[in-house]
């Protein structure tokens, strides 16, 4: 994906001569304010009410985790997959089908500790098979084929009644209770989503410097050279799809526990594109971008309607606001909010190091 290479190259050019840049080392530990965010997230239940805890922060963490799976594929592997939400939705459906729900004729009634791993394994299988199809293509054709998989799955869920219960979907899905805690109660569920999101984020960050992740970045920059170094490029790409499917699947399981129901609307094509918007708005070159994008998206989705009504416009136009925000960010930065932040930080550094510079009196 040339867009990412360009963004990287520009980053490189902006770096000051004489200071060694640290490739992909941008992590929580380097950023003092990131500790503040981490602390804030930990004590959030003390500050926020149930609505904010689940509808804003819980939803952000779930959406961000699904977008993180796209970030992993696009940012490190150069593969833009539009089927990540489909994989998440598939995992959600499988939780409903194997677990306990209001549709007793469909659900098998397995306990959550059996149904959830089964759903994740099947989601990884789904992602691996989809990936095996997608890696035969490059660039825009990868987007097309993954979008086709997403659209096909949406129509299939609509029309299949035996497993997916058609357009009504599956309702009142049971959520886990163990060690005496109802994990769907607001505070417990918030910490569950936070734990899953932090784990996924940490693993992706760690993998970016491990041979598997480095090789994926090599495949992104120059697949032909990777083959000439002894790597089986397509096998690496498929493995990346499998890993991304696990992350998307985890997000999907949390999603279905959050809403306790799933229907074709949850896996519609617009939802798939939402994930792309989240990832691009946040910035696909760094894992944290997925969560930043998700936060912006959820805030807009939740409050744009009220805002529009307040200024005397039709509240149903809130998607217009999201679209305009998306356009603005992409217009000013090829790497989303992360790109804007990096540029602002570099400019700050530049001013600081300029000899006899103004601004510091």
């Amino acid at each position: 994906m040339s867009l990412i290479q360009e963004a990287r190259a520009r980053e490189g050019m902006l770096a000051q001569p004489g200071t060694a840049p640290q490739p992909a080392a941008w992590s929580v530990t380097e950023q003092p304010w990131a500790w503040a965010v981490a602390a804030l997230l930990l004590i959030m239940p003390l500050i926020a009410n149930g609505f904010f805890l689940i509808e804003i922060f819980g939803t952000t963490l779930i959406l961000g985790t699904i977008a993180l799976s796209l970030m992993f594929l696009a940012g490190y592997g150069g593969m833009v997959s539009l089927m990540q939400l489909t994989i998440a939705g598939f995992a959600g459906y499988m939780v409903a089908v194997f677990g306990v729900s209001g549709n007793a004729n469909i659900s098998l009634g397995w306990p959550w500790w059996l149904a959830t791993p089964t759903a994740l394994v099947l989601a990884v299988l789904f992602g691996t098979l989809g990936g095996a199809l997608a890696v035969r293509t490059e660039g825009i054709y990868t987007i097309m084929i993954t979008l086709a998989i997403g659209a096909a799955f949406y129509y299939f869920t609509n029309q299949n009644w035996a497993i997916f219960n058609g357009h009504t979907g599956i309702n009142t899905i049971a959520t886990p209770h163990f060690i005496g805690i109802d994990w769907r109660s607001d505070i417990a569920f918030y910490y569950l989503t936070l734990a899953v999101a932090v784990a996924c984020y940490g693993v992706v960050l760690y993998l970016s410097r491990a041979p598997f992740g480095l090789a994926l970045q090599g495949v992104r920059d120059n697949p032909r050279r990777m083959a000439a170094l002894g790597f089986n490029v397509n096998a690496h790409r498929i493995a990346a799809y499998a890993f991304a499917a696990l992350i998307a699947g985890l997000g999907g399981v949390l999603q279905v526990w959050n809403y306790r129901q799933i229907s074709p609307g949850s896996v519609a094509v617009e939802r798939c594109i939402d994930i792309l918007i989240v990832a691009v708005v946040g910035g696909v070159t760094r894992p944290v971008g997925a969560y930043i994008g998700a936060f912006i998206f959820v805030m807009l989705r939740t409050f744009a309607l009220d805002f529009l009504v307040k200024v005397g416009l039709d509240g149903n136009r809130f998607r217009l606001l999201i679209g305009l925000g998306f356009l603005a960010i992409v217009f000013w930065s090829s790497d989303g909010v992360i790109g804007l932040y990096e540029r602002w930080r570099k400019r700050g550094q530049h001013r600081d190091t300029r000899p006899g510079g103004h601004g510091h009196g």
Partner: protein
């Protein structure tokens, strides 16, 4: 049975690289016609010829980027004609590119580390390497060998052209190469950098053979013991450097036409 036969012929064969009747068509255009070459282990050979003579296509057929339309390619006796590129590399074949093919979004060290990892096991390892990891040490040694230690943390996109060419060579030296294809390694280098390149090539262990495509005769003829001249996708002449240099037909073709 076939595998056993392959092994036996590998034992009997002495050629590092053996091409038999290799032809490559692009549509109706024959980029290579009936190429037959045998290179001994440790032999160092130049492939010369004007632009469009088929030199790089020859490399691409050997590395598997293109499959030959007909003919067979053997590497240390093993028939690799239909192998995918990575399988050939894992058997000790290496190549460099005329236009540097590096990983611009990664640091110099990551580039070299990937090259070392590509020809070893655990390519899919999900554990970060430690600093005292054997491959990390091999990486540092290789960076030192091509004089890039001072810029090893830099993004490749920030390197000067000459440094990128040095890195290009480093990637081909990772692991245990048995035979290397150098595609115009001196392209765009300054006279000083060319001298360094000749040093690097002549300092390679004696068991490593190579084929070098090079327009600069001063570089090419100083680092090889045999020369193959190509013209219009065919082998035109083979011989020792001094024979080729003094051959009137070669001078007519190579220095007279097409080459500025």
């Amino acid at each position: 049975m076939d595998r056993v036969a392959d092994r036996l012929s590998a034992l009997g064969s002495t050629a590092a690289l053996e091409l038999r009747g290799v032809t490559r068509m692009f549509g109706a255009l024959a980029a290579l016609t009936d190429i037959t070459i045998t290179v001994r282990p440790g032999e160092r050979r130049a492939v010369l010829g004007s632009n469009g003579a088929g030199k790089t296509t020859l490399f691409n057929c050997v590395t598997g980027d293109f499959l030959p339309t007909s003919g067979t390619i053997r590497f240390f006796g093993e028939d690799i004609t239909a192998f995918p590129p990575h399988e050939r590399i894992r058997r000790g074949l290496r190549r460099t590119y005329q236009i540097s093919a590096l990983f611009l979004g990664l640091s110099v060290r990551d580039n070299v580390y990937l090259a070392c990892r590509g020809v070893s096991r655990a390519r899919f390892s999900m554990l970060r390497p430690r600093a005292n990891d054997a491959l990390m040490q091999a990486t540092e040694r290789l960076i030192e060998a091509v004089h890039l230690t001072s810029v090893r943390e830099r993004f490749v996109s920030e390197l000067a052209h000459g440094q990128q060419r040095q890195l290009e060579i480093a990637l081909a030296l990772a692991g245990a190469p048995r035979f290397i294809l150098f595609d115009e390694p001196a392209a765009g280098l300054s006279p000083t950098e060319r001298r360094e390149l000749v040093e690097i090539l002549t300092a390679l262990p004696a068991h490593i053979g190579y084929i070098i495509i090079e327009h600069d005769m001063d570089v090419a003829l100083r680092v090889v013991e045999s020369v193959t001249m190509m013209h219009n996708g065919r082998i035109f002449k083979e011989g020792a450097p001094h024979e080729i240099e003094s051959d009137p037909e070669v001078q007519e073709l190579y220095l007279g036409g097409g080459h500025e």
